[in-house]
Symmetry: C2
Subunit: 413 residues, 2 copies
């Protein structure tokens, strides 16, 4: 019997009835002899409602005050959950991020955890108490309240699990695990039994919303066994753990992302420093760039294409407009209707033919590839948004993702 960290998202604690259900699940884990730390998000839509209040005051509230405001959401959840556990006859104690010792840098709205001072939690666990921690929030060394960005409760949970050397960090959510792809697109999508940190990182980075990217990173860095599972069912979900090097599958999952837009700068003079100029201007305007390609074209000019979050396209257009003038480029082109589809699989490292099979499969389905980017365990292609479903279905079938890979069937070697 060890230490178990559990994380419950906003849909798991959407109302007081659901909070009572979560309390029962926690008590069951405690009754089995484990020390339990539960990390909780804000109730249902609380965060959006609080933001609405802020925007009634001003369209552009100071981030420090937004964090102050939003942090109340999780504080409500932890207090109510602790009460619900008390009614079941168990002793619980709730903590804000600050009280739980979640110390962050002072980047409000997307703070990074820099330390976890877990003394108070350890003391209360030793006293036999169930510890309930407000997710998504921390505190700077000056005691200012910060938040970790959307989905930050996952990061809180994994960071606590790392610090407490927990046996497992269970991420309870409204889906029952990580799937080979979106089951809404592909009926045959299969729940993955186990996935490596690296694969999960690529899945999270390319569109799988089930676990926050930074939580996966934290898990990898500190080797935290993560279990993504349903808060409404009892069956096991997906384990995220170290790569055992035994995977037989070439491809583990397929993700897609339709939230980006593509920007192309045409006819840029092909000389050193141009790309640096473009992308440093974008960075200064706080526009995050995802994929980048540059083709050398005719007459000593190049075309530069890149993708940005569609929400940032307005800012990007402004920056690019200025840059185009300055560089004397031929023109620009903006495409809001793109999608990025990605194949992820640690098996690709030893099977170099995967990329070619992917391109061939897309070609056979008359899907034009606009951009390509690869890592050692991932291939991403930008295609037309309306072709996403066809592409994902064809690739899922081609790589036989509906079938359980042999490693998982046989157990970890």
């Amino acid at each position: 019997m060890g230490v178990i960290v559990q994380k419950y998202g906003g849909t798991s604690v959407a109302n007081t009835e659901k909070i009572k259900g979560v309390a029962q699940r926690i008590v069951k884990t405690r009754a089995a002899g484990n020390s339990v730390v539960a990390v909780v998000s804000a109730l249902g839509d609380t965060t959006d409602e609080l933001l609405k209040l802020a925007h009634e005051i001003t369209p552009d509230p100071p981030e420090r005050e937004v964090d102050m405001l939003l942090a109340t959401g999780e504080q409500v959840s932890v207090a109510l959950l602790s009460m619900a556990i008390h009614t079941l006859g168990y002793d619980a104690i709730s903590f804000t991020g600050a009280q739980a010792g979640i110390v962050t840098d002072n980047t409000h709205a997307k703070a990074k955890i820099v330390d976890v001072k877990s003394d108070r939690i350890r003391d209360e666990l030793k006293r036999g108490k169930i510890v309930i921690v407000a997710g998504f929030q921390g505190v700077t060394v000056d005691q200012d309240i910060t938040t970790l960005g959307r989905g930050g409760s996952d990061t809180t949970a994994v960071a606590l699990a790392a610090k407490l050397k927990a046996d497992v960090c269970e991420i309870y959510t409204d889906v029952d695990g990580v799937y080979t792809t979106d089951p809404n697109l592909v009926r045959e999508a299969r729940k993955i039994t186990a996935i490596s940190y690296e694969e999960m990182l690529e899945m999270a980075a390319t569109g799988a919303g089930v676990l926050q990217l930074r939580a996966a990173e934290y898990g990898r860095n500190y080797k935290v066994l993560i279990h993504v599972r349903s808060s409404f069912l009892d069956e096991p979900g997906t384990l995220i753990k170290e790569d055992t090097g035994m995977e037989r599958a070439f491809v583990t999952g397929i993700t897609y992302d339709t939230s980006e837009a593509k920007v192309t700068i045409l006819g840029v003079p092909d000389k050193p420093g141009i790309a640096a100029k473009v992308f440093s201007s974008l960075a200064e305007a706080d526009v995050n760039v995802d994929m980048i390609i540059q083709n050398v074209g005719e007459k000593g000019t190049a075309d530069i294409s890149f993708t940005v979050a569609r929400d940032n396209l307005g800012r990007a257009e402004k920056v690019v407009g200025e840059v185009v003038k300055e560089l004397d480029a031929r023109g620009t082109n903006y495409d809001r209707s793109i999608a990025k589809i990605s194949l992820i699989g640690a098996g690709m490292r030893t099977h170099p033919g995967v990329a070619a099979e992917m391109f061939a499969t897309l070609a056979k389905n008359n899907i034009n590839i606009q951009m390509i980017s690869t890592s050692s365990i991932k291939i991403s292609c930008v295609i037309r948004a309306e072709q996403v479903k066809t592409a994902v279905q064809a690739l899922h079938k081609k790589f036989e993702l509906e079938k359980e890979p042999e490693e998982a069937k046989e157990g970890v070697g």
Copy 2:
């Protein structure tokens, strides 16, 4: 040009429109060259809504967790108010009770302030910022969140004003000052220009809801000039300050309280230790007793009467039932329909005839007095609840409270 502490109650910040109004008032004070600390309550009915959530979980939630829950209400207010001030072009910073250094004992739900660590506030004031502090809440030395009881924001404000040696502590509320009596009962009720701490304490203790009792105590102990005034009007309200010894009025105000019930234990053996037995049992059951009278009756027995909050009457009946058996008393009598009316005035110290005039006035109006209790500046009588209006009107007229006392007219001597 000095330090001004302002306190805004829940009705003053009931919605984002009203918060913007409060922001303008604060900025006006700041623009006049003052350092401003604003203490804010939770928005409108927030506290009640949060308690409703808690009671959906359990009828008897642990007080530590209730405090954790309720403290979010003020945290929302301070964040929104700080945003609203920013939009007016002024720099503001919001603090929770903990961040503001409000240190309390660990009596959850009715904690007492034991220290105010004001370094952070002083630093931010020096930087020219407007400091917004969550009222009603504090933190123990173990960093557990506490609340100060209903109306506790007044106490936060006065405690901060004391620590910061503020020029004035302005209590903004939905009435425009302290009145000689309830204007709803007596049309001629007059706003009091200035009142001593002692009188305000007796007013607050006997039913005037405009300022929390403990805030008045804190003000007296630390000689904080308090100004109770309307958050919707610009005219001055009521000053609460040291007794200048110049009052010409015998009676400053009349209060009443219809929230109590009377308990009588009949035919108690008249021997030492009986009263101690009764009231220690009530104290153990957490029943606060207000007035007590004991009459020695016939045949060596006594009747004991006392008043308790009507909300506590159930608990009181249980305790008294047991005590009556144990003491072999003759019986009990419970009266839910009583009212306590009180005359308050520092002038009574030097005018001993006030009590007699009060009793005569009540008698002339056919009002029977059931219990009497006095202090050096107060006389309270328990009467039938339905006679409150008649009693208050008659007394207000008798003591000519509609007329401004000469001291106030002439200015402080």
